[in-house]
């Protein structure tokens, strides 16, 4: 079976700076894969290339949605890529602050809806039914993530941990087969991180969604990942299972610097 995501030889240049250098990443169905590395290693840039925010300088990103043909998504616009089934969250929370929690999730449903201008004005039966369905679906998603008590609250009034979870709920509303989480545990306390850990595993188990995550919290990465990629200065320096990566001298060097032997 083909990998659901296959990024081959992706390079991203910003002027003279090579942010991502010849990266090969693949994710198989049902995997949780982590992308780690020191600050400024190019992890988020790599995310942005996959989700269409940037067009890679060279290289190709192909996806194989379950039950569909393999296709290239290189250079597509972000909204198209989301339609194809890749959804993401952001490193610094980017919720729709002045919309309610439910509306945030409803926006996620946007690309699975059809109503246009005429439907909005005439509000025919189809549009009404679609609208009701979206409200019900969104509520169900909130319930799954455990945010149903905040339904009509403005997103900006939510506690920090809940905002992070709302981002995940919003991404899940787009019905992805691959969820890309950019530092989901950033700023969370150990208790919240543990909850997140359980939630990610639950999402994979119940929704059949594969996950690629960027994370600095090593306890989270080591406990849930099936495989880990390590990036440093735009280059992938290691790949493998958590225990392999942990013992890899190149990784230790990237994180801790070289050992000085007198």
């Amino acid at each position: 079976m083909a990998a659901i995501l296959d990024a081959s030889q992706v390079t991203m240049d910003f002027g003279g700076l090579r942010a991502v250098n010849n990266a090969d990443v693949h994710i198989d169905q049902g995997e949780i894969v982590a992308l780690i590395g020191p600050n400024g290693a190019g992890k988020t840039t790599f995310f942005n290339v996959i989700t269409g925010v940037y067009k890679p300088t060279t290289g190709d990103v192909r996806i194989t949605a379950p039950g569909k043909e393999t296709e290239s998504i290189t250079g597509l616009k972000p909204n198209k890529i989301t339609e194809k089934g890749l959804a993401r969250t952001f490193q610094n929370i980017r919720l729709f602050q002045n919309m309610t929690v439910l509306e945030n999730v409803m926006i996620g449903r946007h690309c699975r809806m059809k109503a246009g201008i005429a439907g909005a004005v005439f509000r025919d039966r189809k549009t009404r039914e679609e609208e009701e369905q979206v409200v019900a679906d969104s509520y169900a998603i909130l319930k799954k993530i455990g945010l149903e008590t905040f339904v009509n609250e403005l997103a900006k009034n939510l506690p920090y941990g809940a905002q992070r979870r709302l981002e995940i709920a919003r991404a899940m509303a787009t019905e992805p087969f691959l969820l890309l989480l950019d530092e989901p545990a950033a700023g969370m306390n150990p208790h919240e991180t543990r909850e997140l850990d359980e939630m990610i595993l639950k999402i994979r188990a119940t929704e059949k969604i594969s996950i690629l995550l960027i994370e600095h919290d090593m306890s989270l990465v080591m406990s849930i990942s099936d495989r880990i990629y390590v990036m440093d200065y735009g280059l992938l320096i290691a790949e493998g299972q958590p225990k392999e990566v942990r013992a890899n001298p190149a990784v230790i060097k990237a994180y801790l610097g070289e050992e000085f032997n007198a």
Binding site: N79, F96, M99, T100, L102, I107, M113, R170, A171
Partner: protein, 409 residues
């Protein structure tokens, strides 16, 4: 309530004010007898007046910092206003209230003068313009400073089509709206890559281009002299006296206002409306959530322009005369004021905003030369004490009944 430091500051402000106004308020040259009159009393009035005003100012500022509950206690009157608000929100009260409002609106042209009716029509047209711009600025978050250009397109479409082809008001109404919308799309395509300030500048320039074009294509548009003799809206060809025609226009405009509110409300609570608000909140995130930003921007731009086109056709029909001077940057700014003052993204707010902005200067005529000063002062005060506008926008609240809750388990 007011600290000692603030009182000291008020005195300093008063001193500064006295120095500032000294040349114009104190010195007066009598050119006939060639003597200088020193009006020292004026200086005293300004000093005392400024101290009182600024202490009052500080008092208001201090009150703003209090918690809402403390505020209620600090002002007995405020408590009463709050309960009044609560009473107004009740459906039992609201229905008769709206009915009464409707009755007033219907009776209004029959009991008021022609002049008053004319002003009211203008106010209603600004309601339409405000609601249209609200789609672009309030929902879409695109700062648009050339909105009057679309207004002009609607007005000139009717004027020109009548002049050259003899088309009637009712034929021109949809044509005017569609041509404004089309222009909205054409301008939107290249311009909408820009954001924020850049978009504002380009739309401003576009507004000026349209006005200058109208001024200089004199062989078609009559140049600065404009086009006159545009007929008022017809009613199956029946001849009407001036006052009947005015009343008829009034009711047509009112009907269009109701129609606008109906459509804009539906748009706001639709898939499209939500995508506009999401775009306003965060463009990058909304794109990542599967919203086609180009489509969302273009549709908000085009649908905003549509209402300006409609209002434009009404404008030329009401005044029976158009010239480019009616579509200056000032016009765009006033419409933007309507939206911001009323409450960005709030339909009720925009309606109230339009009525206040148009009627206030009219009824401030009693203060003749100071009226624009008062008008400006009210705008500044509003933005300090009610930055959300008269009636700030509220997000829709969804209720879930028991059955639904169980179903989703």
């Amino acid at each position: 309530m007011v600290t000692l430091k603030q009182i000291r500051n008020s005195v300093l402000i008063a001193l500064w004010m006295m120095i500032l106004t000294f040349p114009i308020m104190v010195i007066k040259v009598n050119t006939i007898e060639n003597i200088v009159i020193w009006r020292w009393m004026n200086l005293l009035y300004i000093g005392v007046g400024t101290v009182i005003l600024s202490i009052f100012w500080f008092f208001l500022i201090n009150r703003r910092k209090l918690e809402p509950e403390e505020r209620k206690r600090s002002f007995a009157l405020k408590g009463k206003i709050e309960t009044l608000k609560g009473v107004l929100a009740k459906p039992v009260v609201q229905k008769p209230l709206y009915a009464a409002l409707l009755v007033i609106i219907i009776i209004f042209p029959f009991v008021s003068s022609l002049y008053q009716t004319g002003i009211m029509i203008t106010a209603l047209m600004y309601v339409i313009l405000g609601l249209g711009l609200n789609i672009v600025v309030g929902l879409g978050g695109l700062l648009h400073l050339g909105y009057a250009a679309f207004y002009a397109v609607g007005a000139y479409t009717y004027a020109l089509l009548h002049r050259y082809l003899g088309l009637s008001f009712w034929v021109c109404l949809p044509i005017g709206a569609l041509s404004a919308m089309l222009l909205g799309i054409l301008v939107g395509l290249p311009v909408l890559r820009l954001r924020g300030d850049y978009l504002a500048i380009v739309t401003l320039a576009f507004g000026e281009i349209v006005r200058i074009l109208l001024e200089n294509l004199s062989q078609y548009t009559g140049g600065p002299a404009g086009i006159s003799g545009i007929p008022r809206p017809s009613f199956f060809g029946i001849k009407m006296s001036l006052s009947t025609a005015m009343n008829y226009t009034y009711f047509l405009t009112f009907a269009l206002v109701l129609f606008t509110i109906f459509v804009v409300r539906r748009l706001e609570h639709s898939r499209l409306g939500r995508s506009w608000v999401a775009m306003r909140e965060d463009e990058v995130a909304s794109e990542a959530m599967g919203i086609d930003i180009t489509r969302a921007k273009l549709s908000s731009f085009a649908l905003g322009a549509l209402w300006a086109g409609l209002a434009g056709v009404f404008f030329s029909a009401k005044t029976t005369f158009v010239n480019p001077a009616s579509f200056t940057l000032w016009e765009s700014v006033i419409i933007l004021c309507v939206v911001v003052l009323g409450g960005i993204g709030s339909i009720k707010g925009v309606v109230l905003g339009a009525i206040v902005i148009i009627l206030l200067p009219e009824y401030l005529r009693a203060f003749s030369q100071y009226r624009m000063l008062f008008f400006g002062l009210i705008l500044v005060m509003m933005m300090i004490f009610r930055p959300g506008g008269f009636i700030p926008a509220k997000r829709r609240v969804y209720t879930f009944d028991k059955a639904q809750l169980e179903e989703s388990d």
